[in-house]
Symmetry: C2
Subunit: 304 residues, 2 copies
């Protein structure tokens, strides 16, 4: 429970000091304790917010209309509530909370996590190491050979058989299911399994910065806040293995202009990477990216 | 701004203390100051809530799905976001904030306000004093003669020409536009104009308690909180006059079993009324209800 339930922000003493606790007390006995905790805190913060800013009827009604419009904009391939919570920083914060494990010393840190975002697909196919995720070439795409090693955070040994799941927008800034005219399903998606040395290697694109959709409530909210809708260019990865805690994250080219003001607050320093010039028969760029996983249940050198 | 932005609730020191201010600082310079104030406070409280309960990814995603479902349940005649904010107490709180005018002494109080609710209609017809709002009799309806005087809070004199707008559910617990099979438009709605003595009089029903709809997200939320969906029986009124501050409120029979646990928290002590036995050719009950209005701009005896 918040400690400021009955005092709130500016001027809240002008208002009934018992109201919030009366609302919370109407909850019945047959409730999960965790649900009671979460909803009591949520109600307290909603009320404290309203008292703190002395929310007007018109502002409240604007919020009501906004929330209705969020659901009405969502479809099977568009999750507007997800996007709104992203532009408010909530998914990134939830990700931080979930991944509060920090290596006790600075020698080996687990790879930073970042948000999943709304574009991951459970249907991405397995592909062989050395193959490409580019099914539908885009004339502006710059092909990159990406490779690295998945390593045990504790032993420092490579992890064979880890699944390296990668997805990215094409060079027009759109993911496959946003762009059925130009992309076939699973274009720029794929799962790779690390070899006996914990290594993966594949071809993808240097990522392209893109704008969130500009036709819905999330963009209305950004406009209201005088914020741009741009995400820095990024590659999504999700690395899993049955014996390790998974890592979902995003990688950003170091020269991207939107790193500081990412519209969903998902950039972290150690996720900014350097694409290097390279030359083989497929690629003109190279990216080496190594991932560290911590064993499930391991708490020895880790805060928790 | 909340004073606890960087400290939050339990355990928040485990999390990046700069995150919330970084999100707020991405707002641009071209923003209404009031919008900046409201959204900064909203973002701070959302983040503090998430840190305080250490919101999990699954809980956050349940919230995302819930918000999408709210908008998808709303239609032209059903405002689910309005209803959800009502069951969380928010409309009642916004009403309290808006109507913080309190008479300085106990001699004459302005009539307490209560929430508008989602069933007011701008299209209710004017009717003559002495007429009925019952267009479609319900066999379980108990007809009541309702009457009273609209009085100036400061001078104590009656207010001629005030508009007394009344609406209520029928004896089946449904409003006209929820019940097109049994009710014609504007059944149990009407506007009356006070006579030269500030008096109105009309026939209506003794009100009937009813359940909020049980097929949508608001009811899912009530179920999660182990709360009932009942509103105590009530009559809505909205009293207006060009020279006075309007009053929107609800009146509740004193013997209603749901007064203490109204699902939208709209009951106030001075809005609980006594229906008395009565006998004329139309009615078996009588309700006298007098309303006090304060002049627009008047601050003499009133806190503000």
């Amino acid at each position: 429970m918040a400690t400021n339930e009955h005092t709130g922000g500016n001027g809240s003493s002008r208002f009934d000091p018992t109201f919030t606790s009366r609302v919370i007390k109407t909850m019945g006995p047959n409730m999960e304790p965790r649900t009671r905790q979460v909803l009591s805190s949520l109600i307290t913060h909603i009320h404290d917010f309203a008292r703190e800013v002395e929310l007007t009827h018109d502002e409240w009604m604007a919020g009501v209309h906004f929330i209705n419009s969020v659901g009405q904009t969502s479809t099977k391939t568009r999750n507007e509530a997800h996007r709104v919570s992203d532009v408010l920083g909530l998914e990134s914060l939830v990700d931080e909370i979930a991944n509060k494990i920090i290596a006790e010393d600075g020698d080996i840190d687990p790879t930073s996590s970042s948000i999943l975002g709304p574009f991951w697909s459970p249907d991405a196919p397995f592909r062989d190491n050395g193959s490409t995720i580019i099914q539908n070439p885009n004339p502006h795409g710059r092909v990159c050979k990406m490779h690295g090693t998945i390593t045990d955070l504790v032993t420092g040994k490579p992890i064979p058989g880890a699944v390296f799941d990668i997805w990215q927008a094409s060079a027009n800034g759109k993911y496959d299911f946003q762009d059925p005219e130009n992309q076939t399903p699973n274009n720029l998606r794929g799962k790779f399994r690390t070899d006996e040395n914990g290594k993966y290697w594949l071809y993808c694109y240097h990522p392209t910065a893109y704008s969130l959709p500009t036709d819905g409530p999330a963009h209305q909210l950004l406009t209201l806040m005088d914020r741009h809708p741009m995400r820095p260019a990024h590659i999504h990865i999700m690395v899993t293995h049955p014996e390790y805690k998974g890592c979902t994250t995003q990688l950003y080219p170091k020269d991207d202009p939107w790193l500081e003001t990412d519209t969903v607050f998902a950039v972290k320093d150690d996720l900014v990477v350097d694409f290097k010039p390279y030359k083989d028969d497929k690629a003109t760029l190279e990216l080496e990216y190594n991932v560290f996983l911590s064993p499930k249940g391991y708490k020895g050198k880790v805060f928790q």
